[in-house]
Symmetry: C2
Subunit: 250 residues, 2 copies
DNA sequence: CGGCCCTTTGATTTGAGTCAATCGTGGTGG
DNA sequence: CCACCACGATTGACTCAAATCAAAGGGCCG
């Protein structure tokens, strides 16, 4: 709750300066639109700028909840989110992660169904909300945009499939190695985009992203540590031998 | 190989009568277009009719292979397919199933990447191939179509997510129960759409679809049998107590 | 200093895969 | 028509990865 109030305070700050925040320059340079909105006409640009509502969320804040009506598509400007489904009280399954430039909630909006997963920030994130109806209007009048969205969704869908295949077919060791390589290569730089290949992340969080438990993850990481692949210092993980990690990731 | 020749023979038969097969009446009544192509203009209808190439595949035939260029979107007219990825020689992970009315290969085509899974028929199936470029043209000039495709892909993506969550979180017993309920409810009537809730399917096939091994599946089914939920007679499965099954599926 | 939270470590359990043997059926050829 | 074979299903024994349960550590903050 105190988190919520902090978020609110921030969002007010943002809102107060909305007109200057959402200038054309700002929007064009925003990772959010770079790929998908490139095809917009000038007039559509203007409308998009007018409808996008930026918010700053603290780490661990919920952007939307599973089961609630899909009122907006969210565009990540900075930070990262994880998407998950809650099963039976406290038990959650991560179905994906999203980074700057990604659209979240798109699938629920286009299919006019409630969100079917919950979006929570992994770290502090700035996210623009685009009202669902406005968004659909835009996509409905611009086939190029729709095609780009289609492409993006296809790739997203592929990632989910990769997760499915990975979790079913690869052992925790390999999954962990893959995860670390991803982080290191900055393909996904979820937390601490540091130069020195250092990673700081809650073990519980990391375990969930990999699809295992904190205990098993701890053992796995220490296994890697003993083999000289990682340096472990409490929460901090430093990758010492990236090549070995890549080999393990196969 | 002999299968292949049979398929070929059949496809020739189909091709020979192509003009009569792909009449407007035929296409409109075809499950294939019912939902997605409804929004097409008359002229687009005509073009679609002209470009769709129907084929009949025997059970176990491959429609497309993982890694090959995505040259067409396939529209299932009858029968069912399974999509899977091959891992290391013989080890395959099923990522989904497709029924009449579904589009297969759509994701690869719109993202202009090679197919990333293999499509194989579960039972004899009739499938229309729509050349990729033609398809994209159509989608590019008709935003409504693009939006419908978007919606369809979103739902498909949701199904993959469901699989991911299910495999990670539910035991084989529950997954099996779910699978059987699905079959029984005809949500997916993969094989033998019989009235009497009977199912005939290769155990290996079924095991793969559920995400387990034939041995484990056999034990699970017999567990259900002992509890009076199923009647097992060799390959034949008859559902005796659907309610119990639904309860197990949770 | 003490309490709390997160991480680590140890011990145990367990669901399901693997390996191997047997059984039943259906097809084949003599 | 029958013996035989091949293939899929079943059953049993065993193995194993990872979850779970339980108990320390260790650092950080009030």
């Amino acid at each position: 709750m105190q988190e919520a109030s902090r978020v609110h305070a921030r969002s007010q700050i943002v809102c107060r300066s909305k007109k200057s925040m959402i200038t054309s320059a700002d929007c064009r340079s925003c990772a959010c639109g770079v790929e998908v909105f490139r095809c917009l006409l000038a007039s559509q640009w203007t409308r998009l700028r007018a409808m996008a509502l930026p918010h700053v969320y603290d780490a661990g804040a919920v952007v939307f909840h599973e089961g609630t009506p899909a009122l907006a598509v969210y565009c990540i400007r900075s930070g990262s989110l994880r998407l998950f489904r809650r099963m039976n009280l406290g038990d959650e399954v991560v179905v994906g992660m999203r980074e700057p430039g990604d659209l979240v909630g798109l699938r629920a909006v286009v299919s006019r169904l409630p969100y079917w997963s919950t979006a929570m920030t992994i770290e502090r994130a700035t996210v623009c909300a685009i009202p669902a109806e406005r968004f659909l209007e835009l996509a409905g009048e611009n086939a190029s945009l729709a095609l780009l969205l289609l492409k993006r969704m296809a790739l997203e869908s592929r990632l989910v499939e990769d997760q499915l295949v990975g979790r079913n077919h690869h052992r925790v060791g390999k999954r962990t190695a893959r995860f670390l390589v991803q982080l290191a290569q900055g393909h996904a730089r979820f937390v601490s985009p540091r130069p020195g290949r250092e990673i700081t992340m809650n073990r519980e969080e990391m375990a969930r992203l990999i699809g295992t438990t904190p205990e098993t993850l701890s053992r796995t990481l220490h296994g890697f540590g003993e083999r000289g692949i990682l340096d472990l210092d409490r929460k901090l993980i430093r990758i010492r031998d990236l090549d070995a990690l890549v080999r393990l990731a196969d």
